[in-house]
Symmetry: C2
DNA sequence: CGATATGTATCCATATTAGTCACATATATG
DNA sequence: CATATATGTGACTAATATGGATACATATCG
């Protein structure tokens, strides 16, 4: 499988709940339940996509590079380069066969529509919304615990 | 990567262009440009999903189990069980962390919306439409060759 | 019966994924 | 400045996924 998208969303949501405090890869790793190196690798990808920044050294850690309202799941999806994986085509269909020589183009056009629909839906959720949902869930938990 | 969805669509489209004539796994494999065993494995999955049937023995091969108008890319997508792969979650986020103990549910709800959008778009294309597109492409090719 | 073709088990090479260690580099702080 | 802290990245490993290949029991047609 490939859990990088889910972990990346987890990381960004976690950063939003930290409210501007830098989070170390070790702290994030304990929330995700994995190891800090993996987190740092994903943070590196997220930073390249302009979604996070990091401060090295004592008191350092990762921060959102911009407001959580402006970071959508689509941004995360693209930062992880997941779209390339989802609808992969077989490499070399037979050019001597009518189906073989047209399948890539024909299926490619249909898939483009699917990707557009996916993108539109992913764009509708922001990291801010994720953090908001989670804080609501937490309040419900508190109320239930009384 | 994972090209099974694309190959499965290729197989079904190929079967439709055969107009009711059984196609052997070897013939299909030559169009896809892979080996017959792989084709038979995918055909086995497609048959389990009710999309194809096969006749053993001499003169046998694979056939569409029902009209190409009634087989959508969503049917193929589901037959290949691709949805499970696309939005995989990390297994054990930390239950002691507010984000960790809510991320699965929260992200899961958002992802459900994305999957629904994908499904709706996949459902809009049938194998019949694929075969029609390809025959149009072929006619354009013929015209251009004059 | 013989030829043909599926269905499936087994094995292999390669790629992907996640986990782990190591270490150079950068930064804050005493 | 020295030290502690933390990132960024390379290297290695184990587990799993993927596609390709061989083999063969089973089924079907003529």
């Amino acid at each position: 499988m490939n859990t990088r998208f889910a972990v990346a969303v987890h990381i960004l949501t976690f950063l939003e709940t930290q409210a501007g405090l830098p989070a170390t890869s070790e702290l994030i790793a304990s929330s995700v339940n994995t190891n800090p190196t993996l987190i740092r690798r994903l943070l590196s990808q997220l930073a390249q996509a302009g979604l996070t920044t990091s401060r090295m050294g004592s008191g350092g850690g990762a921060l959102l590079a911009r407001s959580a309202e402006t970071i959508s799941l689509l941004d995360v999806w693209r930062a992880m380069d997941e779209a390339r994986e989802v609808f992969a085509m077989h490499e070399a269909p037979n050019p001597m066969c009518p189906v073989g020589r047209n399948i890539k183009r024909t299926l490619g056009l249909r898939i483009a529509g699917v990707q557009a629909a996916m993108d539109a839906e992913l764009a509708r959720t922001t990291i801010a919304a994720m953090a908001h949902d989670i804080s609501s869930d937490e309040q419900a938990r508190m109320a239930a615990a009384v």
